[in-house]
Symmetry: C2
Subunit: 858 residues, 2 copies
């Protein structure tokens, strides 16, 4: 917690500083000698230049610790990555088109080419990712949200994952499936930042600081979105909205700086590559400036917003439904688990069959890539001229929307419906992919549909006095895109992203209104796509306090806390320690003054206690005891001067037995407790990384001790031990005695200031504090006395509304639809209630009898 006792850190920092200073000196010495060498050997005209270069290098290395250099490097790197990925994707897509176009003599061959190409790419992407780094699968935003909350997810920020994500993403998007680039780019940027941090820590010490790294990760998320859409402002805001609960304004600065630089380089590369004449928006629109929209069109924009809200919620629901369906169907699941690459291949086959242009694809502009669709949808010309859809001469890519038999409205509706479920399905494929861009395109199509309808309805525009201002369906498309993507991700910054993407801000009010309405509807129906994935993946998270759920202000900590706290007292003996370790799985334990006073002194990590226990009963002390005992025996024998064969054999057997019992144990008492770098306050030690290593350790530990104690396990020891049971008593007695000794906490890291709340703290405040500080539990005290503990679990329960307080069922009004997805939470809730009933009247935790713990240990 706050007060994690960081003696080690201090020592470590000092040592590190000394090491760095030394290596710095060495480096500068070697530099100087190198320059001298150069001067001597190479007296030509180049020497001075070289010295200059070396000096510049030195200067650069000394400045390399600065934040802004890091951010510039990050921006540059990400811009390059983004541009290269885009370039490769474009090549892939062109290759497909070329293949498809070249085979226009035979429809079947054409179909084969159209279908095989994406299937191969997606299968490769899935396989490659699976083999190299399965962590690279999916969007990455949910994981980054969890990491920024302070949880350490293993292997999520490694070089392997970086490679897997970049290559996997390029292949996945190159296939032409309705997948997005933006979520993975957030992850890639974070990976870049983490790797760059590691790399730059070679030059200076400050990159070791973890709170600094978290700040850099937050900036990296902004860079990811920023260089993906060339939208620095929208990128910063979007990344804040999807990854943070509380945001440090100083990071905002960093994000802006890096994202702007990144977006700049990204666009400059396009100019240098002669794709563009100068730096402009990615999907530039050319709507008229003088009269962008009429006031009377606002209801139509509001309708787009509300419909998008429902649509967004439906998308999230559909996506989750597909995942859950596949998980539940055990037969399917087993089959798919065996053939991991079959599912992606099947889905790709289905999607690409349906979009085959000569087939069904002709009714839904299947020929167009995602980017081309978006460009045509945002076009500022009206397709349905004068109410007749056919009059407009579709040029360029817009041709795809025209069909000789069917109306453009039908094409649009089919496009929306088909792409909707295809996108929801495609995002469940285990490749690196996001859902933002597909949703954005669907939203644009929906907006275009409404816009074209409005244009058909009011051929001369609505405005009555003077000039005729026809309706601009492209503006509706912009509004729809922002609204639907806002609804799916629960963000309002999509509004800013569309302004930056289109390079026009004239539709600001319609966009804002639609986005806000879409958010209001979607937020009351479903969690955001990212929260939904967090739930599916069961990542440790804390839900937001909803919009307007002011009942939350009336719940207090005493209503939700767990009153049965595991604790240890200052003057406890090792036996108590042992019992406490057996009965719970919390990773920290409260230390109180005594069971009577219950004054909270601090908290101790489980691992610390285990090492205390193992020190007390460990091998060195046993050896010592045996040696002492043997010496005493010898003495006694020599005094009695009656050497017998029996005693000798006894001693030998004892030694043998001892060796067996310790060799068999899986823990070596001399093994030092792994010295984790101490985490800063805002970076709590994870829920995820610990449980695997420690509980097993605890059980082994206790198991051995107890076996030795009661000598009741002949199946493991009896074979080698030649003496009968009673003969072992001396060592058992010794252990008994050891267990009864008082614990010496002197060499133990104690967190002297664990986070405390009082029982009347409101849920709202508790949530704020937990989010702000990234806590995972807090003790509840009353004038220094420990009376309870609240952890993330209880808090989550309370916020999700499954806790009944004072007879009132506290839940958001529209949450019933939401609950369908979280069936597991109810069991936990009843468990919580049981806990309550059991301990309602008990303010002090009960003492655990040894017999109980023994039972559990067997």
């Amino acid at each position: 917690m706050y007060g994690r006792y960081t003696q080690e850190l201090g020592v470590y920092a000092k040592e590190e500083a000394a090491r760095l200073r030394e290596s710095g000196q060495r480096r500068s010495v070697s530099d100087r000698s190198r320059t001298l060498d150069l001067l001597e050997y190479d007296k030509g005209r180049c020497a001075k230049c070289r010295i200059c270069t070396v000096r510049c290098q030195k200067f650069l290395i000394s400045r390399v610790g600065e934040d802004w250099i890091f951010l510039i490097l990050l921006g540059l790197l990400m811009a390059l990555v983004s541009w290269v990925v885009d370039f490769c994707i474009a090549i892939c897509l062109q290759a497909q088109k070329w293949m498809y176009g070249g085979l226009d003599s035979n429809v079947f061959l054409q179909y084969l080419a159209w279908v095989t190409y994406p299937v191969v790419l997606i299968t490769f992407s899935a396989g490659f990712t699976q083999i190299l780094a399965p962590q690279a699968v999916g969007s990455g935003i949910p994981e980054m949200k969890t990491i920024l909350r302070g949880v350490v997810l293993k292997e999520y920020l490694t070089f392997k994952t970086f490679v897997a994500k970049v290559i996997g993403l390029t292949c996945a998007l190159g296939s032409g499936m309705p997948l997005g680039k933006e979520g993975p780019f957030v992850h890639i940027a974070s990976l870049c930042a983490a790797l760059l941090s590691k790399f730059m820590s070679l030059f200076g010490g400050i990159y070791e600081n973890e709170s600094r790294n978290i700040e850099m990760l937050a900036a990296a998320c902004a860079v990811g979105v920023g260089c993906c859409f060339a939208a620095p402002i929208g990128g910063v805001l979007f990344s804040i909205e999807v990854t943070s609960t509380f945001f440090a304004v100083r990071n905002y600065w960093r994000g802006f700086f890096a994202a702007t630089f990144s977006a700049f380089i990204f666009r400059v590369l396009a100019v240098w590559n002669r794709d563009e004449e100068t730096i402009t928006a990615l999907f530039k629109t050319r709507f008229r400036l003088d009269f962008p929209f009429d006031l009377q069109e606002l209801p139509a924009f509001a309708v787009i917003g509300i419909a998008s809200g429902f649509g967004g919620a439906l998308f999230v629901y559909l996506n989750r439904l597909i995942v859950q369906f596949i998980r539940k169907q055990k037969a399917i699941n087993r089959f798919l688990m065996k053939k991991r690459l079959l599912y992606p291949a099947l889905v790709t086959l289905l999607v690409s069959t349906l979009t085959f242009p000569p087939g069904f694809g002709q009714f839904m502009a299947g020929k167009l890539t995602q980017k081309e669709s978006l460009v045509t949808l945002l076009d500022n010309r009206t397709w349905a001229k004068q109410g007749i859809a056919e009059e407009f001469d579709y040029i360029g890519h817009s041709q795809a929307w025209k069909h000789p038999q069917v109306n453009v409205f039908v094409t649009l509706v089919l496009f929306i419906v088909m792409k909707f479920w295809m996108s929801a399905l495609a995002t469940t494929i285990p490749v690196p992919c996001g859902a933002f861009m597909p949703v954005f395109v669907i939203g644009a199509a929906f907006g275009r549909l409404v816009g074209e309808s409005m244009a058909a309805w009011f051929p001369d525009g609505i405005h009555t006095d003077g000039t005729i201002y026809p309706i601009v369906p492209g503006g509706y498309a912009v509004v729809g895109a922002a609204a639907l993507s806002g609804a799916v991700t629960h963000t309002v910054s999509t509004a800013v992203i569309v302004f930056e993407l289109t390079g026009q801000i004239s539709h600001i009010l319609p966009v804002m209104i639609a986005v806000i309405l879409a958010n209001a509807v979607a937020q009351s129906l479903q969690p955001s796509l990212y929260d939904s994935i967090i739930r599916i993946k069961k990542l440790p998270y804390l839900p937001e306090l909803g919009w307007g759920h002011h009942e939350k202000y009336n719940i207090r900590v005493e209503d939700i806390m767990v009153r049965d706290v595991r604790y240890i007292t200052l003057n406890c003996c090792y036996r108590d320690l042992h019992n406490v370790l057996l009965t719970g799985h919390l990773k920290t334990l409260a230390l109180v003054e005594s069971a009577e006073s219950m004054i909270l002194l601090g908290s101790i990590e489980r691992a610390q206690l285990q090492s205390l226990l193992s020190q007390q009963l460990g091998r060195p002390r046993r050896l010592q005891y045996i040696r002492e005992r043997a010496a005493a025996e010898k003495k006694r024998l020599s005094v009695v001067s009656n050497p017998g064969s029996e005693d000798d054999s006894q001693r030998a057997s004892q030694e043998v037995r001892f060796q067996i019992s310790t060799e068999e144990s899986s823990f070596s008492p001399t093994r030092p407790v792994p010295l984790k770098p101490l985490k800063p306050a805002l970076k709590r030690s994870s829920v995820v990384e610990r449980p695997t290593e420690i509980p097993t350790n605890a059980h082994d530990n206790s198991g051995i001790t107890l076996k030795n104690l009661f000598c009741a396990s002949p199946d493991t020891e009896g074979l080698e031990v030649r003496e009968p049971c009673p003969r072992i008593h001396p060592i058992a007695e010794w252990e008994e005695k050891q267990l009864d000794e008082q614990v010496n906490f002197n060499n133990c890291k104690i967190d002297p200031a664990p986070f405390q709340l009082v029982e009347r703290t409101s849920l709202h405040k508790t949530h704020t504090i937990f989010s702000l500080l990234g806590l995972d539990h807090a003790y509840v005290t009353s004038i220094g006395r420990l009376i309870g503990v609240v952890s993330l679990k209880e808090l989550r329960k309370a916020i999700e509304g499954s806790v009944t307080v004072k007879g009132v069922k506290v839940r958001p009004p529209l949450a019933s639809f939401r609950d369908s997805g979280t069936s597991s939470s109810e069991n936990e809730a009843t468990e919580l209630h049981k806990l309550w009933d059991r301990h309602k009247s008990m303010s002090l935790p009960r003492e655990h009898t040894p017999s109980e713990s023994d039972e559990k240990s067997q």
Copy 2:
């Protein structure tokens, strides 16, 4: 702290709930009876309508507790206020123009009219504000920043202040002085929110919740900026940047919603008023979309950014210099203090004399109002056509920039220089005013100057292949405006504000680059204007951790903490309490278990201790004692049966003496400690509101006791006391005895979980925690033992770099320029050093001898 013991709050909430329930029932009953009445009396066709209306009303009232209704009302109200204020300002400015224009026959009369009008308005504004609410003076953003940090500033959110601010602002801006509307609008919106909260708390209980109110205030700040510029997104971001250190993303939502609604209504009002055809930007530009700028123009934009950075820092410095100059010159100060309205009048006279159009004003477009200047500066035509400034036909307001004798470049330079110091001077006038808009206009002029120079330099544009794209100086003006205002306020969101103001986002990259460079320069030279005002006004604040000051990661709490903590022990006697209260002025005191163990149990507020002490030595107990004593005396006398005149007189004199001594005391022991509503954790009780009431009380309190104790103050008591000193001994003895009794903490509010840090917590983390939680002090503990305390003061000192740690002077590289303004901090720093030296080796605070405290009390 966190664990402030909120028993009272719970009781209060319950009572309040009961009251509300009751009144609700009463209301519904009365409603029902009213509808019945209506039915009976008014059997006509209206009756049903009325019932319907009543029902609607009831429904509305029941829904009125919702967040979104509050936000809509707030947005609506602020849009109306903004529009009305703008309307009045426009009328005022028109009136001045009309007067000035009507008197064109006589230059002297013209001058009189030109000068008198603003002087009268500004003087009225200053006087009105001074009389009604002096808190309304100035921008309001620094105060809001402080309030959102959790400090309660008295009288800043009252109706009086609202009236004073709105009327004062209208008059001030109506005068045509270079003043802004935006800062005051942040304050006005917060006032609106606070008043609306109060008003709506009549309908429901949740408006009582203070953490909710803080959230609403944050949203209100966004609304203030949003409805001032019709810039919802920029408003939200700007308000976040200038008021918050850590921002809850859920508030972002609220801000967006309210600001969008407000901006929408604000612009709709303009459409309804026939000012505009449809909703568009406030200062619409019409730059070409296809080629907004060339890549090779970017260095020019960067130059604007860097120059703006220096300019912004200079502006802040100049502004502070003027304030400090006026404060220091005691002669001026005395004079101005007497004639409070003279200073505004003089400044206005000077400024308006210089802008007089036929006079010097002709060289600096003095005729134009602020708004007109901005419109002309953002014009998309080039003034310096083909390199010759005179060729362009200036139409409309642009005429003002043309002068027959001097070049347009000279006019622009004069405009920039004159307006620069005028704005810095004008913003020191004690009227409600901001500095954003004047700075924005100066920035636009500077940008225009650079743009026109570029246009003169490259008459055919820089782009070489194909089409000629001439340079657009208006785009430079946009960049300059964003950069300078960003530099003065230390924000990057001015970029977004200019996009929303101009309705064009095509210059996004130049704007972002310039703003970031301007910020980088300005932040390393000076604090932001708002922080500068915070320092001048000495508001309780915490400076930001600067950009890239990574030395901060290496300072630890033990380097900055105060080791001499005032504390009380659990088993202390009242004398100790008394001594501790005398020797310090901290508003909370640590409670430890004993002086040996130093285990921190909690903290107690000073006021609580004072009430404990006064209860022990208070009037009722004295009376009781005297009564008992008298009874005992009587008994003794009756037993001895020797009634003498001496005893009678003694008793009488005792009673007299007692009455005198208590009447003289300024505190009445029976007075209850004022029951302040308990503040939530994130809303710390203020540093500002307390000191006035308590320390005096403490001194009175102790003064009396000690006087009674030693009976050494004949000047106050001796006159009425007829007996010599020794005769008073009985009561003195009683007091002595009382003081030696152990303190009973049972009825005392103890905060059981004050915030704790360990000595190795880094400064960086400490700053984060203090900002996040709005702390003003934290105890430093080592395994439960109290070893020090850190307060805002120490933290501020450490961040501002006046603390030397381990021989390294820790300060930002360019801070020397900064320090010139904060001369007072050095004294404090040396004081701190003294404290350190004194207690360097002492880990436990020393015991204060009574004699020392006596000295102080005399």
